[in-house]
Amino acid sequence: MHLSDTAAAPGRRRKPHLLILGGIAVASLLLALSIGSLHVPLPQLWAAIHGAGIEPYRSVVLELRLPRAVAAFTVGAMLSLAGALMQVLLRNPLADPYVLGISGGAATGALTTIAVGLSGAWIGGAAFGGALLSMMLVFGVAHGSGSWTPTRLLLTGVVIAAGWGALISFILVMSTSRDLPGMLFWLMGDLSGARQWLPQLVLLGVALGLCLPRARDFNLLARGELQAAALGVPVNGLRTMIYIIASLLTAGAVTVAGSIGFVGLVVPHMIRLTLGTDHRLLLPAATLAGGSLLVLADTLARSAFAPTQLPVGVLTALLGVPLFLYLLRRNR
């Protein structure tokens, strides 16, 4: 099986895997542009992408579906990368981008703005602000005494996330029935309003640019702080960097699409089960796979029960759970 090949020659087998995943990513994006209430045949799709298409295909592809597909890919990629980073930072396979309360802070911000009747950019701005506030709160409390073990960071994050959870319940109970559907869609994760992707894509690029040269350091960090330090890894600086990058990625993702579950927890594990635990392959592979999964899930979410649009978070779980269980079983 290919697992043993990766182990036998680390570093030799990375490119083919990434090319395949890149191919899947492109295919999922093309599928997302073509499928929907209006089916766009391949020749028309091709023409539209090259700016030569005829209406209504051109505007459906370029103005409606392309921004949403790119936003979906970017959000999925960010969540998946953030999940892989959180798992190595906390040295805990159950960690996901939301475990330290980032999404709770974002949700509290977003729901508050919905409750007071604001909409549009206000919701995204408040979500990002809430995420940043939560990130600084957790970092400040966990780092306060100077020692921040993974356990201390995890406990601090979980407690603060629980606090946000209580606030969210409070807002939901107190809100009017007019606001509730919007709030629930936000909480389940929803890409129907997602149009903004450029800042997120830049953030994703910067994050990958900072993480990939240090991917071998991450491998060592997963083996424990002392072991990593003994092999020359600047442990404290690296952990601070991972925390900030993972938090900003999560904040950027929830700002666009609410808290879409599952992608950040399970995609990194899917990659570990199929391609191994080397972060030099894991990080770019999880980024591509997370993006592809969310594009496919969102395409299904808007077309499966059309004209009803499902929240994409429902679909990520429906697609991901059987796939993950299959991989887990195959590797036993």
Binding site: L3, A7, P93, R216, A230, L231, D278
Partner: protein, 254 residues
């Protein structure tokens, strides 16, 4: 030049003194045993010597240069540590685990070369793990995992090896095999410092001994002078008798 020097070193942990005013010089070719009761601070001292925890007072010099001023990666090429406890968050293959020893030798974008692979495979072969290369490390036995950790330190190939209980979990054959190999690598110009619980293995394989008595008190020097029934009886708080057989000294707890 000594590989490692301690000057008036004080190490404390949780208000307890591990060593006070320790003066020590470790030269290439020497094999040191670090002996003492449970909880006397052997691991703490090894971690301090590796620069992994702060010291209370004094100096540690690695190859004549203050340990704290070494860049981390460069230090990891000069000094390797075997830890008593290991826990990986995610399982990995045996060969991948051995290859972590090459980390300080590689730049950020540099992948392991075939030369690095050859070094790791040599270490695995020396630890009799060649057949297990593609196994997941969490499927190995305790002794195999211990030898794998040793293989990773050998792959790191530092001049100074600081080993916390290297023969932990090893069967008799592998205890002797590992210590013979460490003795030989000291003979080839490296230096080894290892904590041991078996005084007789220390007697047989180590040229020098650092004996921690607790409360900051220590004795160090040639194994032949430090190891005797009086010092060991005091160190372990248990009567120990020396017996000789065919010119080989052994120590027997009564």
């Amino acid at each position: 030049m000594p590989l490692l020097q301690c000057q008036q070193l004080n190490v404390r942990i949780a208000g307890q003194s591990v060593c006070e005013q320790l003066d020590l010089s470790i030269e290439p070719g020497q094999c040191w045993a670090l002996l003492g009761r449970n909880g006397v601070g052997k691991t703490t001292l090894l971690h301090s010597l590796a620069g992994l925890r702060p010291i209370h007072a004094g100096n540690i010099l690695l190859q004549g240069r203050s340990l704290a001023t070494w860049p981390k990666r460069e230090r990891a090429r000069a000094l390797g540590v075997l830890f008593q406890e290991r826990s990986s968050a995610f399982p990995s293959r045996v060969l991948e685990t051995a290859l972590i020893g090459r980390h300080p030798h590689l730049g950020p974008w540099q992948a392991e070369s075939s030369a690095d692979l050859a070094i790791a495979r040599r270490a695995l072969s020396a630890m009799e793990l060649s057949d297990l290369e593609t196994r997941l490390s969490d499927t190995l036995s305790g002794g195999e995992q211990q030898r794998l950790a040793l293989a990773a330190v050998l792959t790191q190939d530092p001049a100074l090896l600081l080993l916390d209980e290297p023969v932990n979990h090893l069967d008799l054959h592998h205890q002797i095999q590992v210590l013979t190999l460490l003795q030989a690598s000291a003979g080839a110009g490296k230096a080894v410092v290892m904590s041991l619980h078996d005084v007789n293995l220390a007697t047989r394989f180590c040229s020098h001994v650092l004996l921690l008595h607790g409360g900051g008190d220590y004795e160090c020097g040639d194994a032949s002078t430090i190891l005797n029934s009086a010092t060991l009886t005091r160190a372990y708080g248990h009567p120990i008798r020396q017996i000789s057989h065919d010119g080989q000294r052994s120590f027997l707890p009564l």
